[in-house]
């Protein structure tokens, strides 16, 4: 009997370290739902107790039911039948049934639709736990943003029709956005939506690379204004599979084999408009994709955790030169770096999810229940705007960092296992294949950077970092804070340098700027964890290093981690900011000469 929540010290630590009761208070709107719904909590303690019980149940399901099926899911994949239906891998179908029974398919939906009304932070934790068991299952479990989008933007009638079956786990959905000529650039979407004389809407055209396109509820981005190019001609529609929806092809992919990737032809499919016309891309799909990005970051965390654990076990049991290979400097260095990458990735993801929860809650209050007092209203507006900006910067940062990180960790895990890791006998090769998509879908790393670097250079990062600097830290990280302050100065100088060089220069050094900003944010987050009030002892490996005894206080462990992270990053921050300030534009001027011509066939 395993449990992917209980066996994860870091998640359990963060569960206590982060102020979940504060988030619960916001989500529960003063615990007013307890009167109407017998399962809604009546205070913060009870809400946090609920969160933990549900994570515990999901941890058990993930370890005992989902994980043992992951290998056969990977081998089996999905099948496109002759009649156009799709048969899922057996393990995925079984897992979906268990998830429905566990009542976790409406994680963040309101109580009135049968949801749990949990914060996004909890959803990220749950998504990570599921993805550790089977990354490809996340592509269905993690699509709850579809229901969220309906909840946020559709009319009451559509909500009543679709949301309860989502929460019951009776239906799954798909975000039907990408087309052959509209990938990263969704403004180019061509699929046509047209209205008949009675005002009924229909869809016509082809969509490609649609995750779970064989699902029951399809959210389709389409061009409702034929004379209008660009994003403002697009609207969002909801439709269901039927005789006019043809799955033409299932992609044969590198990884996430449990997730069906469909090409769909809509042949005059009846559909309903979500919200208002011409708002399809912004704000509806933009909001949907922001949620999905956090989902992919959580999926990445799950893959990284799973990959790390195999490598860690193998390094202890594999003997070469008469000793466990973890005794070799190169291997132990790799393992520590993998573990730190996992924990810093998680720190940023959970922080991002927390800020998103605050942004959602403040904006909801502003819309539904604004204070009458003018000063109070202004302060609420300022807070809401500030959280929204922060969420807008942190979301692409978390997606970028976690997805790149899981690829590195999965790569290194195979390296630790050596030849064995390359074989299919171990799950490491599956983790590496599953990881590969995470830096691509829901916006490539390059596009996450385009979004993130605007936050870094617009003052959002500066303000957010100021808030982090102003927090209270324990005395033992004082010298680390000094180092971080130095890095902060270097970042400011780099941002200043970039400012008058134009957007193309900023984008050219976007990755460097974003990397520096993330290293600083994570530095402060790790110092914050090292200053925790949580009393928790965690087990240490038996070994030859400084730790004696069998456990260490988490606070002490996190201090070691923060120290190594901040100190190792300081020279990198310095180098990257120097690079940015060199003003090198050779990418623009020398491209043609350096890459050479396209080979003629």
């Amino acid at each position: 009997m395993g449990n992917f929540y209980k066996d994860n010290d870091d998640i359990r630590f963060l569960f206590q370290h982060l102020d979940l009761a504060q988030l619960a208070g916001l989500c529960e709107e003063g615990y007013r739902f307890a009167e109407e719904f017998d399962y809604a909590p009546s205070d913060g303690d009870e809400a946090v107790q609920n969160y933990e019980m549900v994570l515990d149940a999901m941890g058990e399901l993930s370890a005992d039911f989902i994980a043992p099926r992951a290998e056969s899911v990977d081998r089996e994949g999905n099948t496109l039948n002759e009649d156009g239906t799709v048969t899922r891998a057996k393990g995925i179908a079984e897992a979906l049934e268990k998830l429905a029974q566990a009542e976790v398919m409406g994680f963040t939906l309101p109580y009135r639709f049968g949801g749990l009304n949990f914060p996004n932070l909890l959803y990220s934790m749950a998504t990570e736990i599921i993805s550790r068991a089977d990354a490809s299952l996340m592509n269905i479990f993690g699509l709850q943003g579809i229901a969220e989008t309906i909840n946020a933007f559709a009319c009451e009638e559509i909500k009543q029709e679709y949301l309860p079956p989502f929460a019951e786990g009776k239906v799954t959905g798909a975000m039907v956005l990408t087309e052959p000529d509209a990938g990263s650039d969704l403004q180019a979407v061509k699929l046509r939506a047209f209205e008949d004389e009675k005002g009924n809407w229909f869809l016509h055209g082809v969509k490609r690379f649609i995750t779970n396109g064989c699902g029951d509820v399809l959210l389709v981005l389409s061009r409702s204004e034929p004379d209008r190019s660009g994003g403002l001609g697009l609207s969002l529609f909801v439709c269901e599979p039927g005789p006019t929806v043809h799955i033409r092809r299932l992609e044969d992919k590198l990884g996430i084999h449990g997730s069906p990737t469909c090409e769909i032809f809509f042949d005059n499919t009846p559909c309903k408009l979500i919200g208002e016309r011409r708002r399809g891309l912004a704000p509806y799909v933009a909001t949907l994709m922001n949620g999905a990005r956090i989902g992919i970051a959580a999926q990445s965390m799950g893959i990284a955790e799973a990959a790390y654990r195999i490598a860690r076990d193998y390094a202890a049991s594999r003997k070469q030169f008469g000793m466990a290979i973890e005794r070799l400097p190169a291997v132990r260095d790799m393992l520590i770096d993998m573990k730190i990458a996992v924990e810093t990735g998680r720190a940023l993801l959970y922080e991002t999810s927390r800020v998103v929860d605050l942004a959602v809650a403040y904006n909801k209050r502003l819309e539904e229940n604004p204070p009458e007092d003018k000063a109070e209203l202004k302060s609420l507006k300022d807070d809401a705007r500030s959280y929204k900006r922060c969420a807008g910067m942190l979301t692409p940062m978390a997606k970028y960092l976690c997805s790149e990180m899981c690829n590195q960790v999965a790569y290194d895990a195979i390296q630790v296992l050596g030849g064995s890791g390359y074989m299919r006998d171990y799950a490491s090769e599956r983790h590496a294949r599953d990881a590969r998509i995470t830096t691509i879908y829901e916006g490539t790393s390059q596009l996450q950077i385009v979004a993130a670097v605007r936050g870094v250079c617009s003052g959002t990062a500066e303000k957010y970092l100021e808030d982090l600097v102003a927090k209270e830290y324990a005395p033992q990280v004082k010298d680390l804070l000094d180092k971080l302050a130095e890095g902060l100065g270097q970042l400011k100088a780099a941002v200043e340098f970039v400012k008058d060089k134009g957007n193309d220069y900023m984008d050219l050094y976007g990755r460097a700027l974003t990397d520096v900003a993330i290293a600083l944010i994570n530095g402060y987050l790790m110092c914050d964890q090292a200053s925790t009030k949580v009393q928790m002892d965690v087990a240490v490996a038996p070994g030859i290093s400084s730790t004696d005894g069998q456990t260490v206080p988490m606070k002490q462990r996190k201090t070691l981690l923060a120290r190594r992270y901040v100190e190792k990053n300081a020279p990198t921050i310095k180098a990257l900011t120097e690079l940015i300030c060199q003003g090198d534009r050779s990418t623009f001027s020398d491209y043609e000469a350096l890459v050479g011509p396209v080979q003629e066939q």
């Binding site: 909590p41 609920n50 549900v54």
Partner: protein, 303 residues
């Protein structure tokens, strides 16, 4: 057509986590050294009942006999989707063997409406597999043991597949029926989130009394009784009161309960300690392997 199911469950020491300290010197089990869990095959019985409810409707009631601590598995049943849970607890149940236990449980089940009674095949502490069959006899209903799949259920007829060790039988009978369910029958569902959130507060009257005593250490008995009654009433109104029945409530014949109702006498307990005495090297050749196989067959270790 909806079917009412009654599931009999037992809290057992987790014998899969045996360590050196779990046997007392007299050869009995030191229950405090092992975590108490939901008997695994009883979870399969519950799962089968819940899947019948999912498909056909009806109610699932879980009954356990045990110490007040066994309420934990009743809450777990509610988390998974049971509609009602009943704790049968009474100091006079102590020392019941399988015969007395099945008698007491039959008194409880007779108080309930049922079409199908489900038990786990056996409990992992005693491994007798007797209580289910004895209970069917006492209820005077048909029993089907070793059930590994429900094949058909319509009107008043049920068809199941039962394991017969080296194969299976498909059998059909009328309702009511008692099934004993094996671990192969299904994979039990996990707790459902909304049920967890709701039923974590479910309590038996005994637990309510304990909590009230802790919170009001100076209260006299009459006050405690009054507080208990109002608290239980409040819980009942919210569907959070777990029924607690004693032998009086069951109208059980006390001579059939506890030690006096238990003909089983433990004659002797032998504590068997297995230890390796010698080792033997088998050469990794065809001949070596053939010789080893032959030896294992001779020793009746493999057939």
């Amino acid at each position: 057509m909806a079917y009412d199911c009654v599931v009999l469950a037992k809290q057992v020491p987790d014998t899969h986590r045996i360590t050196g300290k779990v046997m007392n010197d007299d050869g009995t089990v030191n229950r405090s050294a092992l975590p108490a869990i939901f008997n695994p095959e009883d979870l399969n019985a519950l799962e089968l009942a819940l899947s019948i409810k999912d498909r056909f409707g009806g109610r699932v009631t879980v009954v356990t006999m045990g110490l007040p601590g066994a309420t934990r598995i009743l809450r777990e049943s509610l988390y998974r989707g049971a509609d009602e849970a009943i704790l049968v607890t009474d100091i006079r149940c102590a020392a019941s063997d399988t015969l007395a236990t099945s008698y007491i449980l039959s008194c409880a089940v007779k108080k309930l409406d049922y079409d199908i009674v489900l038990c786990g095949r056996q409990a992992i502490d005693g491994d007798t597999a007797q209580v289910g069959p004895q209970l069917a006899e006492k209820l005077g209903i048909t029993q089907i043991t070793y059930v590994e799949a429900l094949e058909d259920l319509q009107d008043n007829t049920i068809q199941v597949r039962r394991s017969i060790g080296n194969g299976w039988q498909s059998v059909r009978t009328g309702l009511p029926v008692l099934l004993t369910v094996t671990g192969e029958a299904n994979t039990p569902r996990v707790a459902a989130a909304r049920h967890l959130m709701k039923y974590k507060k479910a309590r038996t009257p005994g637990e309510v009394a304990e909590e009230i005593k802790v919170m009001n250490p100076d209260a006299v008995e009459a006050e405690i009784k009054e507080l208990c009654e109002s608290r239980c009433e409040a819980l009942r109104a919210r569907g959070l009161l777990i029924e607690q029945w004693n032998l009086d409530r069951l109208e059980a014949d006390l001579t059939w309960c506890g030690r006096s109702g238990s003909p089983t006498k433990v004659h002797r307990i032998q504590s068997v300690v297995l230890a390796a005495k010698e080792s033997k090297e088998v050469p990794p050749t065809d001949d070596g392997l053939a010789e080893m196989i032959h030896e294992l067959i001779e020793d009746k270790i493999i057939a």
